[in-house]
């Protein structure tokens, strides 16, 4: 019966190949949307972990997480270094990392921080940062770069780089008298760290000498810079790790009510969740649309089967004369639809992996994590739903044929 069904399908290959393609593509789309969603969700939630609070100038929680973690957008205000020191010095604080943002190098963000960053910052499942090559910055003019920066700009340890003031990609005003030496390159993390450069807070101060009025008034040399007091005056935000996570809310209250300047503290988990749910609407719409596309594919299969139903009543009468029971004819049509849907699902999955391999080849340096994993449980569920829907659509012509073959007898009157 299987062989007969296959032969009969091959006979109508012209129409069915089109349907097969549309089924494969719709399954690809369906799974692709699902997979992108899962990948972006995990890469999203793994950007920061182990940090209990992030503090910054008062703004929206989304804005604060965007610039302090994703290095996107800009801080509205800085916080004074003294306020930071006072808050970071409180007894419930286990560790803290100050961040000073706002400069860039060839489109990559430069982060001013302390070497505590490499000690305490963790991502994913509390992974600490590790060096692929070299070590953390020692000197004022040392810089540590993320893996994507190294790969894209082809940098090695001990290369010297120029740090721009401001965040633009092309900057007319570069601090070109103050080259930095690459002291270390970090291992890939799949987080925004890969696309960042890290220098000391003093280094940030140094590249701003001569820029006190917002524009370059004088050039400084390395020796001149070293002679100036470079201790930081302000930072943009800070990561805080607490000794006891249960004190997070009370510490947050203290920061939010800080008397000297308007500050805020956020819980990264909650902020990430809010950011994700903002994108959730688009994500749901995409899932819905891709589901509808699968449905359209199945309906085209159904209509193709229905269109030939009348013509096939003859075939069915013939098969019955050979001793086929109506149930067998039912199976016959059912198997046809099953073969089609199963083939569609299979090649949809196959295409998904092909696309994923292609994409990860293209974007290998972008820090996007595209693990080639087996279909996840939710993907299996989607596949099974698709297959079940395909079988249901196959049932309709099968049942109709079954009933017709019972009443037709040997005479098919069309």
């Amino acid at each position: 019966m299987f062989k007969l069904a296959l032969q009969s399908l091959i006979n109508r290959k012209n129409v069915l190949i089109l349907i097969y393609i549309s089924l494969s593509l719709s399954v690809l789309l369906f799974l692709g949307v699902q997979r992108t969603r899962e990948i972006s969700r995990t890469s999203f939630s793994r950007t920061i972990s182990g940090t209990d609070l992030i503090i910054g100038a008062r703004t929206g929680q989304i804005n604060l997480i965007l610039y302090s973690v994703f290095h996107m957008g800009n801080a509205v205000n800085n916080i004074s270094y003294n306020s930071y020191l006072e808050l970071a010095g409180r007894e419930e604080v286990a560790w803290s990392v100050p961040l000073s943002l706002g400069d860039s190098h060839k489109g990559f963000r430069v982060v001013g921080t302390t070497d505590d960053y490499f000690r305490f910052f963790t991502y994913g499942k509390k992974h600490p940062l590790t060096f692929d090559n070299g070590a953390e910055f020692q000197d004022l003019f040392d810089v540590v770069i993320g893996s994507a920066v190294a790969e894209e700009l082809n940098y090695k340890v001990d290369d010297s780089v120029i740090i721009n003031h401001g965040a633009g990609k092309v900057s007319l005003s570069s601090h070109d008298t103050l080259p930095f030496r690459i002291s270390g390159i970090l291992e890939p993390t799949g987080t925004p760290v890969d696309k960042s450069l890290f220098i000391s807070l003093e280094g940030i101060s140094a590249i701003h000498i001569g820029w006190e009025r917002g524009m370059e008034t004088r050039k400084v040399t390395r020796e001149q810079a070293l002679a100036v007091d470079l201790s930081p005056q302000s930072i943009t935000s800070a990561y805080i790790g607490l000794k006891n996570r249960r004190t997070a809310f009370s510490f947050q209250r203290i920061v939010n009510n800080y008397p000297d300047e308007p500050l805020m503290a956020i819980l990264p988990g909650a902020a990430l969740y809010e950011l994700w749910s903002l994108m959730g609407i688009a994500e749901k719409a995409l899932t819905f649309i891709s589901g509808a596309v699968v449905l359209i594919g199945l309906i085209s299969l159904l209509s193709a089967q229905m269109a030939v139903l009348n013509q096939r009543r003859r075939e069915m009468a013939l098969l019955r004369s050979l001793g086929a029971t109506p149930i067998r004819l039912f199976y016959f049509l059912f198997i046809e639809s099953f073969i089609m849907t199963a083939a569609g699902c299979l090649s949809g999955v196959f295409l998904l992996y092909a696309v994923q391999i292609a994409v990860s080849k293209i974007f290998s340096s972008s820090g996007l994590y595209l693990d080639l994993t087996l279909p996840s449980p939710s993907e299996w569920i989607l596949l099974i739903i698709t297959l079940a829907a395909g079988l249901l659509t196959g049932l309709i012509p099968a049942i109709m044929t079954y009933r017709k073959s019972l009443t037709d007898g040997m005479s098919v009157r069309s």
Binding site: Q7, L322, G409, M410
Partner: protein, 224 residues
């Protein structure tokens, strides 16, 4: 081989089309059943083949009462003991000629056993006898109607069923081919000792038949 007694059959919402008091066909007999179009010939064959069942009375084939059999048993019975030739569209156009001829063997274990695993040789023999010189692997849809009908005979004969039923097998053929085809069908059944039941409205074809029956004369159904 076939025995009808007070057999009554009506299509849904219609008067009884078949009402046969007494009609039988003996084993090995070749019977030509004549009836005009719409008189219920095809319906009667559906009943004999067990696709439809009579509503009352008795219809026995090989001594077995068809209406007492379960549905799938009847289908099995038909597959095992009968060969059926339609007016036209006898073949599955998307199967090769060989696969078409071998289809009954696929459906019926009894026919398969009778061919003792030599069914591929048998196909060749049959096509020789029917003087069909074609490539067996060709799709059946490519044949002319005359060739298709002859392939249909080969398919009906494979597995040596006891009863061959043909429903106006020549109506799609050219006039000068009809006689020829009937002769062929007749001799093939003769050679195997199979019982042959042919229905047609064309009396001209009945020349070699031992028995010619008018459907109207045995059927008291609604058709006038």
């Amino acid at each position: 081989m076939i025995h009808l007694e007070n057999a009554l059959f009506a299509w849904p919402d219609e008067e009884a089309l078949i009402n046969i008091r007494d009609f039988s066909v003996k084993e090995g007999e070749k019977v030509f059943l004549k009836g005009s179009s719409g008189s219920g010939k095809t319906t009667l064959l559906s009943l004999v083949a067990g696709i439809q069942t009579i509503q009352s009375g008795s219809l026995k084939v090989r001594g077995e009462e068809l209406k007492n059999m379960k549905c799938h048993k009847r289908d099995r019975f038909r597959g095992d003991h009968m060969g059926y030739i339609f007016q036209q569209f006898n073949l599955l156009p998307w199967l090769s000629i060989e696969d078409n001829i071998l289809a009954p063997v696929l459906f019926s274990p009894v026919k398969r056993k009778k061919e003792k695993g030599k069914h591929h040789n048998k196909v060749r023999e049959l096509l020789d006898e029917l003087s069909l010189d074609v490539d067996l692997r060709k799709k059946a849809g490519n044949l002319s109607i005359g060739q298709q009908q002859r392939v249909a005979v080969a398919r009906a004969l494979i597995g040596n069923p006891e009863l061959i039923i043909a429903d106006e097998p020549t109506s799609a053929l050219d006039a000068d081919r009809r006689k020829n085809f009937m002769n062929l069908l007749f001799s093939e059944c003769e050679k195997r000792g199979a019982t042959l039941l042919v229905v047609s409205h064309d009396r001209e074809l009945a020349t070699r038949f031992s028995r010619v029956v008018d459907l109207e004369s045995i059927n008291g159904g609604a058709y006038v």
